[in-house]
Symmetry: C2
Subunit: 295 residues, 2 copies
Amino acid sequence: MKLSEIGERKIVEKIIQKFSIPMDDCAVIDNGNEYMILTTDMMNEKTHFPQGSKPYYIGWYSIAVNLSDIAAKGGKPLAILAAISMPRSREINFFEEILNGMEDCVKKYGGKIIGGDTKESPFLTIAITAIGMVRKNEYMARKGAKAGDAVYVTGSLGKEANLYLGNIDELLNVKPRIKEAHELAKARVATSCMDLSDGLASSLYQLAKINGIGFLIYEKWLPIDDKARKMDSPLEFALYHGGDFELLFTMPEEHEDMLHFNFKKIGYVTEEKILIEKDGKIEEIKNKGYEHFVS
Amino acid sequence: MKLSEIGERKIVEKIIQKFSIPMDDCAVIDNGNEYMILTTDMMNEKTHFPQGSKPYYIGWYSIAVNLSDIAAKGGKPLAILAAISMPRSREINFFEEILNGMEDCVKKYGGKIIGGDTKESPFLTIAITAIGMVRKNEYMARKGAKAGDAVYVTGSLGKEANLYLGNIDELLNVKPRIKEAHELAKARVATSCMDLSDGLASSLYQLAKINGIGFLIYEKWLPIDDKARKMDSPLEFALYHGGDFELLFTMPEEHEDMLHFNFKKIGYVTEEKILIEKDGKIEEIKNKGYEHFVS
Protein backbone atom coordinates (compact mmCIF):
# COMPACT_ATOMS: atom_id res chain seq x y z
CA MET A 1 0.00 0.00 0.00
CA LYS A 2 1.28 3.47 -0.85
CA LEU A 3 1.49 6.52 1.42
CA SER A 4 -0.99 8.33 -0.83
CA GLU A 5 -3.59 5.73 0.10
CA ILE A 6 -3.48 6.54 3.80
CA GLY A 7 -2.47 10.24 3.93
CA GLU A 8 -0.33 12.30 6.27
CA ARG A 9 -2.55 12.27 9.33
CA LYS A 10 -2.80 8.46 9.41
CA ILE A 11 0.97 8.24 8.89
CA VAL A 12 1.53 10.57 11.84
CA GLU A 13 -0.86 8.42 13.89
CA LYS A 14 1.24 5.37 13.07
CA ILE A 15 4.39 7.14 14.25
CA ILE A 16 2.98 8.50 17.47
CA GLN A 17 1.57 5.06 18.29
CA LYS A 18 4.85 3.32 17.52
CA PHE A 19 6.88 5.66 19.72
CA SER A 20 4.12 6.44 22.28
CA ILE A 21 4.28 10.16 21.54
CA PRO A 22 1.47 12.37 22.87
CA MET A 23 -0.33 14.18 20.04
CA ASP A 24 0.49 17.86 20.50
CA ASP A 25 2.18 20.81 18.75
CA CYS A 26 5.48 20.21 20.54
CA ALA A 27 7.38 17.41 22.21
CA VAL A 28 8.06 17.91 25.90
CA ILE A 29 11.09 17.26 28.09
CA ASP A 30 10.66 17.55 31.86
CA ASN A 31 13.11 20.09 33.29
CA GLY A 32 12.43 20.90 36.96
CA ASN A 33 9.76 23.61 37.24
CA GLU A 34 9.67 23.97 33.49
CA TYR A 35 9.03 21.98 30.38
CA MET A 36 11.46 22.24 27.56
CA ILE A 37 9.28 22.10 24.44
CA LEU A 38 10.60 21.12 21.03
CA THR A 39 9.22 21.11 17.53
CA THR A 40 10.61 20.35 14.10
CA ASP A 41 9.34 21.25 10.63
CA MET A 42 10.79 20.27 7.29
CA MET A 43 9.96 22.34 4.21
CA ASN A 44 11.06 22.17 0.60
CA GLU A 45 10.71 24.41 -2.40
CA LYS A 46 8.80 21.79 -4.38
CA THR A 47 5.85 21.61 -2.02
CA HIS A 48 6.08 24.58 0.39
CA PHE A 49 7.47 27.65 -1.30
CA PRO A 50 5.53 28.90 -4.32
CA GLN A 51 7.30 30.08 -7.44
CA GLY A 52 8.59 33.59 -6.80
CA SER A 53 9.23 33.11 -3.08
CA LYS A 54 12.05 35.42 -2.00
CA PRO A 55 14.81 33.72 -0.04
CA TYR A 56 14.48 36.29 2.76
CA TYR A 57 10.85 35.29 3.31
CA ILE A 58 11.67 31.59 2.95
CA GLY A 59 14.10 32.00 5.85
CA TRP A 60 11.61 34.03 7.87
CA TYR A 61 8.78 31.56 7.26
CA SER A 62 10.87 28.53 8.17
CA ILE A 63 11.54 29.96 11.63
CA ALA A 64 8.12 31.56 12.11
CA VAL A 65 6.09 28.37 11.61
CA ASN A 66 8.19 26.60 14.22
CA LEU A 67 7.86 29.47 16.69
CA SER A 68 4.10 29.26 16.09
CA ASP A 69 4.20 25.73 17.58
CA ILE A 70 6.25 26.99 20.54
CA ALA A 71 3.72 29.82 21.02
CA ALA A 72 0.78 27.43 20.98
CA LYS A 73 2.10 25.77 24.16
CA GLY A 74 2.72 29.11 25.91
CA GLY A 75 6.46 28.78 25.38
CA LYS A 76 9.24 31.31 25.18
CA PRO A 77 11.66 30.61 22.29
CA LEU A 78 15.08 29.58 23.56
CA ALA A 79 17.08 28.15 20.68
CA ILE A 80 16.90 27.14 17.02
CA LEU A 81 18.77 24.54 14.95
CA ALA A 82 18.63 25.17 11.21
CA ALA A 83 19.48 22.48 8.64
CA ILE A 84 19.58 23.68 5.04
CA SER A 85 20.09 21.64 1.86
CA MET A 86 20.37 23.15 -1.60
CA PRO A 87 22.06 22.67 -4.98
CA ARG A 88 25.67 23.72 -5.39
CA SER A 89 24.63 25.87 -8.34
CA ARG A 90 22.63 28.22 -6.09
CA GLU A 91 23.99 31.75 -5.59
CA ILE A 92 25.61 32.48 -2.24
CA ASN A 93 23.45 35.58 -2.05
CA PHE A 94 20.33 33.38 -2.16
CA PHE A 95 21.68 31.43 0.80
CA GLU A 96 22.63 34.59 2.72
CA GLU A 97 19.17 36.07 2.21
CA ILE A 98 17.65 32.93 3.76
CA LEU A 99 19.91 33.44 6.78
CA ASN A 100 18.91 37.14 6.97
CA GLY A 101 15.24 36.19 7.07
CA MET A 102 15.92 33.63 9.80
CA GLU A 103 17.93 36.13 11.80
CA ASP A 104 15.27 38.85 11.62
CA CYS A 105 12.52 36.46 12.70
CA VAL A 106 14.54 35.31 15.69
CA LYS A 107 15.41 38.92 16.59
CA LYS A 108 11.75 39.86 16.57
CA TYR A 109 10.25 36.85 18.34
CA GLY A 110 13.05 35.52 20.53
CA GLY A 111 15.44 32.60 20.67
CA LYS A 112 18.89 32.23 19.17
CA ILE A 113 20.21 30.19 16.27
CA ILE A 114 22.69 27.90 18.04
CA GLY A 115 23.55 25.32 15.40
CA GLY A 116 22.62 23.60 12.20
CA ASP A 117 23.73 21.69 9.18
CA THR A 118 24.27 22.40 5.48
CA LYS A 119 24.05 19.75 2.83
CA GLU A 120 23.86 19.42 -0.89
CA SER A 121 20.53 18.49 -2.45
CA PRO A 122 18.82 18.82 -5.86
CA PHE A 123 16.53 21.53 -4.46
CA LEU A 124 16.15 23.67 -1.37
CA THR A 125 15.01 21.86 1.77
CA ILE A 126 15.01 23.43 5.23
CA ALA A 127 14.51 21.59 8.51
CA ILE A 128 14.16 23.75 11.61
CA THR A 129 14.10 22.55 15.18
CA ALA A 130 12.87 25.13 17.68
CA ILE A 131 13.27 24.77 21.42
CA GLY A 132 11.30 26.76 23.95
CA MET A 133 10.71 26.86 27.68
CA VAL A 134 7.45 27.11 29.56
CA ARG A 135 6.61 26.91 33.26
CA LYS A 136 4.78 23.69 33.97
CA ASN A 137 1.75 25.48 35.39
CA GLU A 138 1.54 27.70 32.29
CA TYR A 139 1.84 24.94 29.67
CA MET A 140 -1.14 24.91 27.32
CA ALA A 141 -1.94 21.41 26.07
CA ARG A 142 -4.29 20.37 23.29
CA LYS A 143 -6.14 18.27 25.82
CA GLY A 144 -8.48 19.92 28.34
CA ALA A 145 -11.33 21.54 26.40
CA LYS A 146 -14.78 20.91 27.95
CA ALA A 147 -18.31 21.32 26.63
CA GLY A 148 -19.49 24.83 27.55
CA ASP A 149 -16.11 26.48 26.98
CA ALA A 150 -16.00 29.10 24.26
CA VAL A 151 -13.59 28.75 21.36
CA TYR A 152 -11.35 31.56 20.12
CA VAL A 153 -8.79 32.44 17.48
CA THR A 154 -6.20 35.20 17.20
CA GLY A 155 -5.75 37.32 14.07
CA SER A 156 -7.67 36.50 10.92
CA LEU A 157 -8.55 33.37 8.95
CA GLY A 158 -8.07 32.48 5.30
CA LYS A 159 -4.75 34.22 4.66
CA GLU A 160 -3.80 31.53 2.16
CA ALA A 161 -5.85 33.60 -0.28
CA ASN A 162 -2.58 35.51 -0.63
CA LEU A 163 -1.25 32.57 -2.60
CA TYR A 164 -4.00 32.96 -5.19
CA LEU A 165 -3.69 36.73 -5.25
CA GLY A 166 0.05 36.52 -5.91
CA ASN A 167 1.02 38.09 -2.56
CA ILE A 168 3.79 35.58 -1.89
CA ASP A 169 5.76 37.83 0.45
CA GLU A 170 2.68 38.30 2.60
CA LEU A 171 1.87 34.59 2.53
CA LEU A 172 5.31 33.75 3.92
CA ASN A 173 5.44 36.67 6.36
CA VAL A 174 3.95 34.57 9.16
CA LYS A 175 3.67 36.27 12.56
CA PRO A 176 3.94 33.69 15.32
CA ARG A 177 1.67 34.61 18.23
CA ILE A 178 4.40 34.44 20.86
CA LYS A 179 3.31 37.56 22.76
CA GLU A 180 -0.39 36.71 22.70
CA ALA A 181 0.25 33.12 23.74
CA HIS A 182 2.50 34.25 26.55
CA GLU A 183 -0.25 36.44 27.97
CA LEU A 184 -2.77 33.62 27.58
CA ALA A 185 -0.45 31.15 29.28
CA LYS A 186 0.29 33.52 32.19
CA ALA A 187 -3.44 34.04 32.74
CA ARG A 188 -3.86 30.24 33.07
CA VAL A 189 -7.37 30.33 31.68
CA ALA A 190 -7.07 28.34 28.44
CA THR A 191 -8.43 24.80 28.67
CA SER A 192 -6.74 23.87 25.38
CA CYS A 193 -4.59 25.54 22.74
CA MET A 194 -3.05 24.63 19.40
CA ASP A 195 -1.83 26.45 16.31
CA LEU A 196 -3.86 26.55 13.14
CA SER A 197 -1.30 25.38 10.61
CA ASP A 198 -3.59 22.89 8.80
CA GLY A 199 -6.68 25.10 8.71
CA LEU A 200 -9.53 25.72 11.16
CA ALA A 201 -11.69 22.71 10.21
CA SER A 202 -8.85 20.24 10.47
CA SER A 203 -7.70 21.75 13.78
CA LEU A 204 -11.21 21.58 15.25
CA TYR A 205 -11.39 17.89 14.28
CA GLN A 206 -8.04 17.27 15.95
CA LEU A 207 -9.11 19.00 19.19
CA ALA A 208 -12.47 17.20 19.09
CA LYS A 209 -10.79 13.80 18.79
CA ILE A 210 -8.32 14.39 21.63
CA ASN A 211 -10.94 15.80 23.98
CA GLY A 212 -14.01 13.76 23.01
CA ILE A 213 -15.96 16.94 22.30
CA GLY A 214 -17.70 18.79 19.46
CA PHE A 215 -17.92 22.41 18.33
CA LEU A 216 -20.59 24.85 17.21
CA ILE A 217 -18.99 27.63 15.18
CA TYR A 218 -20.81 30.80 14.10
CA GLU A 219 -19.98 31.89 10.58
CA LYS A 220 -20.75 35.55 11.35
CA TRP A 221 -18.19 35.52 14.18
CA LEU A 222 -15.31 34.26 12.05
CA PRO A 223 -12.62 36.92 11.57
CA ILE A 224 -12.28 36.23 7.85
CA ASP A 225 -9.21 37.91 6.39
CA ASP A 226 -9.69 40.80 3.95
CA LYS A 227 -7.75 38.84 1.35
CA ALA A 228 -10.03 35.82 1.68
CA ARG A 229 -13.01 38.14 1.23
CA LYS A 230 -11.76 38.92 -2.27
CA MET A 231 -12.17 35.26 -3.23
CA ASP A 232 -15.30 33.52 -4.55
CA SER A 233 -15.73 31.58 -1.35
CA PRO A 234 -14.22 33.37 1.66
CA LEU A 235 -15.63 30.82 4.10
CA GLU A 236 -13.92 28.00 2.21
CA PHE A 237 -10.58 29.74 2.80
CA ALA A 238 -11.29 30.42 6.47
CA LEU A 239 -12.24 26.80 7.18
CA TYR A 240 -10.32 24.55 4.88
CA HIS A 241 -7.05 26.22 3.91
CA GLY A 242 -3.80 25.96 5.84
CA GLY A 243 -1.25 28.67 6.45
CA ASP A 244 -2.93 30.82 9.08
CA PHE A 245 -0.61 30.00 12.00
CA GLU A 246 -2.98 31.60 14.48
CA LEU A 247 -3.77 30.35 17.98
CA LEU A 248 -6.95 28.29 18.38
CA PHE A 249 -7.90 28.05 22.06
CA THR A 250 -10.76 27.26 24.37
CA MET A 251 -11.63 28.75 27.76
CA PRO A 252 -14.66 29.53 29.94
CA GLU A 253 -16.19 32.70 28.54
CA GLU A 254 -16.05 34.59 31.85
CA HIS A 255 -12.27 34.97 31.53
CA GLU A 256 -12.43 37.06 28.35
CA ASP A 257 -11.80 40.31 30.23
CA MET A 258 -8.48 39.02 31.54
CA LEU A 259 -6.95 39.03 28.05
CA HIS A 260 -5.81 42.18 26.28
CA PHE A 261 -4.53 40.95 22.93
CA ASN A 262 -6.51 40.71 19.69
CA PHE A 263 -8.67 37.57 19.81
CA LYS A 264 -12.14 36.66 18.64
CA LYS A 265 -14.76 34.23 19.91
CA ILE A 266 -15.89 31.99 17.05
CA GLY A 267 -18.21 29.54 18.83
CA TYR A 268 -18.57 27.01 21.64
CA VAL A 269 -17.38 23.61 22.67
CA THR A 270 -20.25 21.10 22.58
CA GLU A 271 -20.68 17.44 23.43
CA GLU A 272 -20.29 16.15 19.89
CA LYS A 273 -20.31 16.98 16.16
CA ILE A 274 -18.51 19.85 14.52
CA LEU A 275 -21.11 22.26 13.22
CA ILE A 276 -21.35 25.72 11.76
CA GLU A 277 -24.28 28.10 11.97
CA LYS A 278 -24.68 30.02 8.73
CA ASP A 279 -27.63 32.15 7.64
CA GLY A 280 -29.79 30.59 10.36
CA LYS A 281 -29.00 27.03 9.24
CA ILE A 282 -26.70 24.57 10.95
CA GLU A 283 -24.52 22.27 8.92
CA GLU A 284 -21.59 19.99 9.56
CA ILE A 285 -18.04 21.28 8.99
CA LYS A 286 -16.15 18.84 6.77
CA ASN A 287 -13.07 17.08 8.07
CA LYS A 288 -10.71 18.38 5.44
CA GLY A 289 -7.72 20.67 5.21
CA TYR A 290 -4.25 20.67 3.85
CA GLU A 291 -2.75 17.20 4.20
CA HIS A 292 0.52 16.00 2.75
CA PHE A 293 0.52 12.86 0.58
CA VAL A 294 -3.18 13.19 -0.33
CA SER A 295 -4.26 16.85 -0.76
CA MET B 1 29.14 33.64 -6.82
CA LYS B 2 27.80 30.11 -6.48
CA LEU B 3 27.97 27.79 -3.46
CA SER B 4 30.14 25.39 -5.46
CA GLU B 5 32.82 28.09 -5.65
CA ILE B 6 33.25 28.31 -1.88
CA GLY B 7 32.30 24.82 -0.60
CA GLU B 8 30.57 23.51 2.49
CA ARG B 9 33.20 24.35 5.08
CA LYS B 10 33.38 28.04 4.08
CA ILE B 11 29.58 28.17 4.04
CA VAL B 12 29.49 26.76 7.57
CA GLU B 13 32.08 29.35 8.61
CA LYS B 14 29.83 32.09 7.27
CA ILE B 15 26.91 30.78 9.32
CA ILE B 16 28.80 30.33 12.56
CA GLN B 17 30.24 33.83 12.21
CA LYS B 18 26.84 35.35 11.47
CA PHE B 19 25.19 33.75 14.48
CA SER B 20 28.29 33.64 16.76
CA ILE B 21 28.11 29.87 17.10
CA PRO B 22 31.13 28.06 18.55
CA MET B 23 32.54 25.50 16.09
CA ASP B 24 31.87 22.09 17.64
CA ASP B 25 30.00 18.82 17.03
CA CYS B 26 26.99 19.96 19.03
CA ALA B 27 25.28 23.14 20.11
CA VAL B 28 25.13 23.68 23.85
CA ILE B 29 22.43 24.96 26.19
CA ASP B 30 23.36 25.69 29.80
CA ASN B 31 21.19 23.69 32.21
CA GLY B 32 22.41 23.91 35.82
CA ASN B 33 25.13 21.32 36.46
CA GLU B 34 24.72 19.95 32.97
CA TYR B 35 24.87 21.00 29.38
CA MET B 36 22.07 20.04 27.08
CA ILE B 37 23.79 19.28 23.79
CA LEU B 38 22.00 19.33 20.47
CA THR B 39 22.87 18.35 16.94
CA THR B 40 21.00 18.16 13.66
CA ASP B 41 21.79 16.32 10.44
CA MET B 42 19.88 16.37 7.19
CA MET B 43 20.29 13.53 4.70
CA ASN B 44 18.69 12.73 1.38
CA GLU B 45 18.65 9.74 -0.91
CA LYS B 46 20.22 11.68 -3.77
CA THR B 47 23.47 12.45 -1.98
CA HIS B 48 23.65 10.24 1.13
CA PHE B 49 22.10 6.86 0.56
CA PRO B 50 23.61 4.78 -2.24
CA GLN B 51 21.44 2.85 -4.65
CA GLY B 52 20.34 -0.33 -2.90
CA SER B 53 20.21 1.15 0.61
CA LYS B 54 17.63 -0.71 2.64
CA PRO B 55 15.12 1.50 4.44
CA TYR B 56 15.90 -0.21 7.76
CA TYR B 57 19.54 0.85 7.51
CA ILE B 58 18.60 4.33 6.27
CA GLY B 59 16.62 4.77 9.48
CA TRP B 60 19.40 3.31 11.62
CA TYR B 61 22.08 5.47 9.97
CA SER B 62 20.07 8.67 10.29
CA ILE B 63 19.91 8.25 14.07
CA ALA B 64 23.42 6.78 14.49
CA VAL B 65 25.29 9.68 12.85
CA ASN B 66 23.53 12.13 15.14
CA LEU B 67 24.26 10.03 18.23
CA SER B 68 27.90 10.00 17.09
CA ASP B 69 27.94 13.80 17.55
CA ILE B 70 26.35 13.43 21.00
CA ALA B 71 28.97 10.79 21.88
CA ALA B 72 31.84 13.03 20.77
CA LYS B 73 30.94 15.53 23.50
CA GLY B 74 30.64 12.83 26.17
CA GLY B 75 26.86 13.07 26.12
CA LYS B 76 24.13 10.62 27.01
CA PRO B 77 21.31 10.55 24.41
CA LEU B 78 18.08 11.96 25.81
CA ALA B 79 15.66 12.58 22.95
CA ILE B 80 15.31 12.54 19.17
CA LEU B 81 13.13 14.52 16.77
CA ALA B 82 12.76 12.89 13.35
CA ALA B 83 11.49 14.79 10.29
CA ILE B 84 10.91 12.65 7.20
CA SER B 85 9.93 13.76 3.69
CA MET B 86 9.18 11.37 0.85
CA PRO B 87 7.03 10.93 -2.25
CA ARG B 88 3.42 9.87 -1.85
CA SER B 89 4.06 6.99 -4.23
CA ARG B 90 6.41 5.31 -1.72
CA GLU B 91 5.22 2.07 -0.10
CA ILE B 92 4.09 2.29 3.51
CA ASN B 93 6.32 -0.67 4.23
CA PHE B 94 9.36 1.37 3.10
CA PHE B 95 8.39 4.07 5.58
CA GLU B 96 7.77 1.58 8.39
CA GLU B 97 11.16 -0.04 7.85
CA ILE B 98 12.83 3.36 8.25
CA LEU B 99 11.02 3.75 11.56
CA ASN B 100 12.09 0.23 12.61
CA GLY B 101 15.73 1.10 11.96
CA MET B 102 15.39 4.32 13.93
CA GLU B 103 13.72 2.49 16.80
CA ASP B 104 16.39 -0.22 17.01
CA CYS B 105 19.22 2.32 17.00
CA VAL B 106 17.61 4.29 19.82
CA LYS B 107 16.94 1.08 21.78
CA LYS B 108 20.58 0.10 21.51
CA TYR B 109 22.25 3.45 22.15
CA GLY B 110 19.76 5.38 24.27
CA GLY B 111 17.37 8.27 23.93
CA LYS B 112 13.76 8.29 22.89
CA ILE B 113 11.99 9.49 19.76
CA ILE B 114 9.73 12.21 21.17
CA GLY B 115 8.47 13.98 18.07
CA GLY B 116 8.91 14.74 14.44
CA ASP B 117 7.36 15.79 11.19
CA THR B 118 6.30 14.10 7.95
CA LYS B 119 6.10 15.91 4.65
CA GLU B 120 5.75 15.21 0.99
CA SER B 121 8.82 15.62 -1.20
CA PRO B 122 10.02 14.32 -4.59
CA PHE B 123 12.56 12.06 -2.84
CA LEU B 124 13.42 10.83 0.62
CA THR B 125 14.94 13.41 2.97
CA ILE B 126 15.46 12.85 6.69
CA ALA B 127 16.39 15.51 9.23
CA ILE B 128 17.20 14.27 12.71
CA THR B 129 17.74 16.40 15.77
CA ALA B 130 19.35 14.58 18.69
CA ILE B 131 19.47 15.96 22.20
CA GLY B 132 21.82 14.71 24.88
CA MET B 133 22.93 15.62 28.37
CA VAL B 134 26.42 15.81 29.78
CA ARG B 135 27.77 16.99 33.13
CA LYS B 136 29.62 20.25 32.67
CA ASN B 137 32.86 18.85 34.07
CA GLU B 138 32.66 15.87 31.69
CA TYR B 139 31.94 17.82 28.50
CA MET B 140 34.58 17.15 25.83
CA ALA B 141 35.12 20.17 23.59
CA ARG B 142 37.05 20.33 20.32
CA LYS B 143 39.19 23.02 21.91
CA GLY B 144 41.88 22.07 24.41
CA ALA B 145 44.49 19.92 22.62
CA LYS B 146 48.09 20.90 23.44
CA ALA B 147 51.41 20.08 21.81
CA GLY B 148 52.77 16.92 23.47
CA ASP B 149 49.37 15.24 23.85
CA ALA B 150 48.96 11.99 22.00
CA VAL B 151 46.13 11.58 19.49
CA TYR B 152 43.80 8.58 19.37
CA VAL B 153 40.91 7.06 17.46
CA THR B 154 38.37 4.39 18.32
CA GLY B 155 37.53 1.49 15.99
CA SER B 156 38.95 1.37 12.48
CA LEU B 157 39.49 3.82 9.64
CA GLY B 158 38.50 3.67 5.99
CA LYS B 159 35.15 1.92 6.34
CA GLU B 160 33.81 3.84 3.33
CA ALA B 161 35.54 1.14 1.30
CA ASN B 162 32.30 -0.74 1.95
CA LEU B 163 30.64 1.59 -0.55
CA TYR B 164 33.01 0.45 -3.29
CA LEU B 165 32.76 -3.20 -2.26
CA GLY B 166 28.97 -3.07 -2.44
CA ASN B 167 28.50 -3.66 1.32
CA ILE B 168 25.82 -1.01 1.66
CA ASP B 169 24.22 -2.49 4.78
CA GLU B 170 27.59 -2.42 6.53
CA LEU B 171 28.31 1.13 5.34
CA LEU B 172 25.08 2.37 6.90
CA ASN B 173 25.35 0.23 10.03
CA VAL B 174 27.19 2.99 11.91
CA LYS B 175 27.96 2.27 15.57
CA PRO B 176 28.03 5.52 17.52
CA ARG B 177 30.71 5.39 20.24
CA ILE B 178 28.36 6.32 23.07
CA LYS B 179 29.77 3.80 25.57
CA GLU B 180 33.41 4.54 24.79
CA ALA B 181 32.86 8.29 24.88
CA HIS B 182 31.02 8.00 28.17
CA GLU B 183 34.01 6.23 29.75
CA LEU B 184 36.39 8.79 28.25
CA ALA B 185 34.28 11.68 29.51
CA LYS B 186 33.99 10.20 33.03
CA ALA B 187 37.78 9.79 33.17
CA ARG B 188 38.18 13.52 32.41
CA VAL B 189 41.45 13.00 30.60
CA ALA B 190 40.67 14.02 27.02
CA THR B 191 41.98 17.46 26.08
CA SER B 192 39.84 17.51 22.92
CA CYS B 193 37.37 15.23 21.17
CA MET B 194 35.34 15.21 17.96
CA ASP B 195 33.74 12.65 15.69
CA LEU B 196 35.31 11.63 12.42
CA SER B 197 32.40 12.13 10.05
CA ASP B 198 34.35 13.97 7.33
CA GLY B 199 37.46 11.75 7.40
CA LEU B 200 40.63 11.77 9.51
CA ALA B 201 42.58 14.37 7.48
CA SER B 202 39.76 16.88 7.45
CA SER B 203 39.11 16.36 11.17
CA LEU B 204 42.79 16.86 12.04
CA TYR B 205 42.76 20.12 10.09
CA GLN B 206 39.66 21.25 11.96
CA LEU B 207 41.21 20.45 15.37
CA ALA B 208 44.48 22.11 14.32
CA LYS B 209 42.69 25.31 13.34
CA ILE B 210 40.67 25.56 16.54
CA ASN B 211 43.64 24.79 18.81
CA GLY B 212 46.50 26.44 16.90
CA ILE B 213 48.39 23.15 16.81
CA GLY B 214 49.75 20.55 14.37
CA PHE B 215 49.89 16.75 14.25
CA LEU B 216 52.41 14.06 13.48
CA ILE B 217 50.60 10.85 12.53
CA TYR B 218 52.33 7.46 12.10
CA GLU B 219 51.02 5.46 9.19
CA LYS B 220 51.96 2.15 10.82
CA TRP B 221 49.83 3.00 13.87
CA LEU B 222 46.66 3.69 11.89
CA PRO B 223 43.96 1.05 12.53
CA ILE B 224 43.10 0.70 8.87
CA ASP B 225 39.89 -1.26 8.35
CA ASP B 226 40.07 -4.71 6.76
CA LYS B 227 37.76 -3.50 4.02
CA ALA B 228 40.01 -0.56 3.19
CA ARG B 229 42.94 -2.97 2.98
CA LYS B 230 41.21 -4.63 0.03
CA MET B 231 41.42 -1.39 -1.93
CA ASP B 232 44.29 -0.14 -4.10
CA SER B 233 45.14 2.60 -1.63
CA PRO B 234 44.08 1.72 1.93
CA LEU B 235 45.77 4.83 3.35
CA GLU B 236 43.75 7.06 1.01
CA PHE B 237 40.57 5.58 2.51
CA ALA B 238 41.81 5.93 6.09
CA LEU B 239 42.77 9.59 5.65
CA TYR B 240 40.51 11.16 3.11
CA HIS B 241 37.16 9.35 3.09
CA GLY B 242 34.22 10.20 5.32
CA GLY B 243 31.84 7.82 6.98
CA ASP B 244 33.89 6.43 9.86
CA PHE B 245 32.00 8.07 12.73
CA GLU B 246 34.72 7.16 15.21
CA LEU B 247 35.98 9.30 18.07
CA LEU B 248 39.13 11.33 17.44
CA PHE B 249 40.59 12.55 20.75
CA THR B 250 43.74 13.88 22.35
CA MET B 251 45.11 13.36 25.87
CA PRO B 252 48.42 13.15 27.71
CA GLU B 253 49.80 9.68 27.04
CA GLU B 254 50.16 8.76 30.70
CA HIS B 255 46.39 8.38 31.03
CA GLU B 256 46.13 5.49 28.55
CA ASP B 257 45.84 2.90 31.33
CA MET B 258 42.71 4.57 32.67
CA LEU B 259 40.71 3.65 29.58
CA HIS B 260 39.39 0.15 28.90
CA PHE B 261 37.63 0.44 25.56
CA ASN B 262 39.11 -0.26 22.13
CA PHE B 263 41.24 2.75 21.11
CA LYS B 264 44.48 3.26 19.27
CA LYS B 265 47.22 5.87 19.44
CA ILE B 266 47.88 7.23 15.95
CA GLY B 267 50.38 10.04 16.65
CA TYR B 268 51.08 13.22 18.58
CA VAL B 269 49.96 16.80 18.78
CA THR B 270 52.74 19.14 17.62
CA GLU B 271 53.22 22.88 17.35
CA GLU B 272 52.33 23.17 13.68
CA LYS B 273 51.84 21.37 10.37
CA ILE B 274 49.86 18.19 9.84
CA LEU B 275 52.31 15.45 8.90
CA ILE B 276 52.40 11.72 8.43
CA GLU B 277 55.41 9.43 8.85
CA LYS B 278 55.34 6.70 6.25
CA ASP B 279 58.17 4.26 5.38
CA GLY B 280 60.66 6.48 7.23
CA LYS B 281 59.66 9.61 5.31
CA ILE B 282 57.57 12.49 6.58
CA GLU B 283 55.07 14.20 4.32
CA GLU B 284 52.20 16.62 4.71
CA ILE B 285 48.66 15.30 5.02
CA LYS B 286 46.43 17.08 2.53
CA ASN B 287 43.52 19.17 3.70
CA LYS B 288 40.85 17.25 1.89
CA GLY B 289 37.91 15.05 2.75
CA TYR B 290 34.28 14.75 1.94
CA GLU B 291 32.79 18.19 1.51
CA HIS B 292 29.31 19.01 0.28
CA PHE B 293 28.91 21.43 -2.67
CA VAL B 294 32.47 20.78 -3.97
CA SER B 295 33.51 17.12 -3.53
